[in-house]
């Protein structure tokens, strides 16, 4: 017993001593600058999470050597998984899009050898020694001082206690070891030359990425952060081909590297470069390897498109197949945790072919590419301008599936912006305005009315034949559905050329004013004078009764309300006909 205690003390001292050695070695030569060091987390399939400091120029093999002593015995293999891919040994970590606080997933594989001979419980001192050994093995003596600071933030191993429980947990096979061994071999045998070899994604040439995208359509040979992945997802085959021809003909393009773009609502509040990540759709853990690479936006944005292997014990044991769930992180800030995800703005791309903006004719990057056949392009500034000009005129369209949106500026068929988060580019204030009107249009499209009282505008969904409407849940104003004045009995005040309003055809969706005079301003008074001014200056659209002013031009009116667009004659106050053209087109 005493000797055992002595042994422990001894190992404790040796550990303290070795710590000092590391410390003194560090202080002698200058360590790499803090900014170059990456602090990442490694999460194991047993739920362990440890913090590791590493330099971006390390290879995966180097990192593994450093992790091993903390995670398992030397006989065992570690598989490192990041963004849906097992990282090949020779890959330089700087190439795989790791950021501060990124999480790498480590899976401990049990080889047949280690399964046969149960490992002994290593002590902290063992680990320290092994780390030292490994460091010396991996680094030439001159660089010895630059070896990583292997602090394990997740666990404290300060005392000389054995790591029995932890170590055993890590080593416990989650599947029959034979399968594991087989599996690990298949995975390790993947031809990973492309990812690891000469290609360096960070400085990767667009041409090389194009070639890679072309040659590896659906093979798991590239990382999700590779330029070729971005190109495969963002560009159709035709577009890739066009781009390749452009490059071949010597057009320089914008010289950009392809990226994903996201809207980061917090903390960056703007468009940022996005990082594509993947997790299991059952357990939401990132320790997954993809069966195949995503090749289009549908693969990424629509759930359950691509299968994956999940290494989480619960998922591994379940027979069910796991699907990959793709998501994006903002690269503009250090990640705030697993929940820190960002919306992909998939219409935004790097302007690889150097297309000029439709509006300002400048070549900018990134740009918005519309989903019309012609793939019309706007730079981000012009896109904001376009949206603002349409928003101010309330010319967005309410689409029953997409919501309140816009087509491409050339008004191509089927070019509506389907991801309305793109309107986040307008800034917080304008986006709020957008949301407000989107809600109003949705209420109107559903057959509802908006309370006409200034400053209220509460959305109401009364019965279709109900004329007397009370603003329930809003200001309590009781009004007439037909004329939107205070409720009255008898005919409404005649607005339209002596024609009683109630005689006009009425349907649920056309039963109210759209351009709400109530929103002219909260301070504006809903008085007789303004009603009279509106009456004298405007005529109501015969279909939706939007008060319309004719500021010039011919008598052919098109309703300004985006959801109406009725063609009518200013003179006849009816639908525009050829007779109107012939008789009084210009008055």
């Amino acid at each position: 017993m005493f000797s055992l205690l002595l042994g422990w003390l001894k190992s404790f001292f040796s550990q303290v001593l070795s710590l000092f050695q590391i410390g003194s070695a560090k202080s002698v030569s200058s360590p790499p600058p803090e900014s170059q060091m990456l602090s990442i987390f490694v999460r194991t399939n047993t739920g362990e999470k440890i913090q590791v400091q590493l330099a971006p120029e390390w290879t995966v093999a180097q990192l593994k050597t450093h992790l091993k002593p903390q995670l398992c015995s030397t006989q065992q293999h570690i598989k490192l998984i990041f963004a849906g891919k097992e990282l090949p040994e020779s890959l330089v970590l700087g190439q795989c899009d790791l950021g501060q606080n990124s999480v790498l997933h480590a899976v401990i594989l049990v080889t047949s050898a280690s399964a046969a001979t149960p490992p002994t419980s290593p002590t902290v001192s063992d680990i320290t020694r092994r780390v030292q050994d490994a460091a010396i093995e991996e680094f030439p003596p001159a660089n010895c001082s630059e070896k990583p600071n292997l602090t394990t933030a997740g666990k404290e191993y300060a005392s000389s206690e054995t790591l029995t429980s932890d170590a055993r947990d890590m080593q416990r096979p989650t599947r029959p070891s034979s399968t594991d061994t087989l599996e690990s071999f298949t995975l390790l045998d993947l031809p990973c030359g492309k990812i690891s070899g000469a290609e360096t994604p960070a400085g990767e040439d667009v041409e090389a990425a194009l070639d890679a995208a072309f040659s590896e359509q659906r093979e798991c040979q590239r990382l999700l952060c590779d330029a070729s992945t971005v190109i495969t997802i963002q560009l159709s085959q035709d577009e890739q081909e066009q781009l390749r021809q452009l490059k071949a003909s010597g057009v320089p393009g914008s010289g950009e590297r392809p990226h994903f773009y996201v809207f980061c609502s917090r903390p960056c509040r703007g468009v940022r470069v996005g990082k594509l990540r993947v997790r299991c759709n059952r357990c939401a853990q990132g320790a997954v390897t993809l069966h195949e690479d995503p090749t289009c936006w549908k693969d990424v944005l629509t759930p359950k498109q691509i299968l994956c292997w999940c290494e989480t014990p619960a998922c591994k044991e379940a027979v069910k197949e796991c699907y990959a769930e793709f998501y994006f992180k903002c690269s503009g800030h250090v990640t705030l945790g697993d929940d820190d995800v960002a919306v992909p703005l998939y219409m935004i791309r790097a302007n690889l072919p150097g297309v000029v903006c439709l509006s300002c004719a400048e070549v900018a990057s990134p740009v918005i590419v519309f989903e019309c056949e012609a793939s019309h392009v706007l730079c981000l500034d012009c896109f904001i301008n376009y949206c603002l000009s349409k928003l101010s005129e309330r010319q967005f369209t309410h689409d029953s599936e997409i919501g309140y949106t816009l087509p491409c500026p050339v008004n191509c068929f089927d070019s509506y912006i389907k991801e309305v988060h793109h309107f986040r580019l307008l800034g917080d204030d304008q986006y709020r305005r957008y949301q407000h009107w989107a809600t109003e249009e949705a209420v109107l499209a559903a057959g509802g009315v908006l309370c006409p009282r200034p400053g209220c505008g509460h959305g109401l969904l009364p019965d279709a034949d109900c004329v007397r409407i009370t603003c329930v849940g809003g200001c309590g104003f009781v009004f007439c559905r037909l004329c939107l004045q205070e409720y009255h009995t008898g005919e409404c005040w005649q607005l339209d050329h002596g024609q009683p309003l109630s005689s006009l055809p009425r349907s649920a969706s056309t039963a109210s004013f759209n351009v709400d005079t109530s929103r002219v301003g909260v301070g504006a008074r809903w008085d007789v004078a303004s009603a009279a001014a509106i009456q004298s200056l405007t005529k109501a659209c015969p279909q939706c009764r939007t008060p319309t002013e004719r500021s010039g031009g011919c008598m052919h009116m098109v309703c300004t309300r985006a959801s109406c667009r009725f063609n009518w004659c200013w003179v006849c106050h009816k639908e525009w006909t050829r007779d109107c053209m012939a008789a009084h087109w210009f008055g």
Partner: protein
């Protein structure tokens, strides 16, 4: 005016100035001072049309939301054409209304208007009087349009017969343009024109 609109107009200006059409004096753009909002355009009447040898001035107003909204264009030079108001110069051309696209430019607008002069569209929106004449008495329409070109747009082709009729009305104290409009609308029938003016 937004920067984008100003920048864009500057570009389009240069595009027009450097274009082949401008070299041949067939289209022209001029600016009042440095205000990009008000531009004066000019198009030459296309050859083999009644508008040949005439130069037609246009008023082009650029909205702040350009190029997402079309420019407002009207003829300053009086013109006799089924698709242009003989009174106000207003044009109802689809690309200046709902068919406008942000990809279009001032050059496209000028060339489209020129094309409109070469090929009127009487089956589309039109000035009723001019369109009727166009459809029912094409020869008279052509000579009227040519006469208007000579009177207002610097055309070279004279018409002594029409001159005489105008002078008859001028002698009666009728203002010149009023006389021209009345005679044109009444198919150069002096009696009907007189009736229209003095009724």
């Amino acid at each position: 005016m937004s920067n984008i609109a100003a920048q864009r107009i500057q570009r389009e200006f240069n595009e027009v100035i450097k274009s082949d059409e401008a070299q041949k004096f067939s289209i022209k753009l001029e600016m009042d001072g440095s205000d990009f909002r008000h531009i004066n355009g000019e198009i030459a009447g296309p050859p083999d049309t009644p508008y040949e040898s005439g130069n037609f001035k246009l008023e082009i107003k650029i909205p702040d939301t350009y190029p997402f909204n079309p420019p407002k264009v009207k003829f300053l030079t009086k013109i006799w054409h089924p698709n242009v108001s003989s009174v106000t110069g207003a044009i109802c051309l689809d690309i200046l209304k709902d068919q406008w696209a942000a990809a279009m430019t001032l050059r496209v607008v000028l060339l489209s208007l020129q094309a409109l002069l070469a090929a009127a569209e009487p089956d589309d929106p039109q000035d009723a009087v001019v369109a009727n004449q166009y459809k029912e008495n094409r020869a008279l329409f052509t000579s009227t349009a040519r006469y208007w070109t000579t009177v207002h747009a610097g055309g070279k082709q004279l018409n002594p017969d029409f001159d005489k009729k105008i002078h008859t009305l001028l002698d009666l104290g009728v203002e010149k343009h009023q006389a021209l409009v009345a005679l044109s609308a009444c198919d150069w029938n002096l009696d009907r024109a007189l009736e229209q003016i003095f009724s």
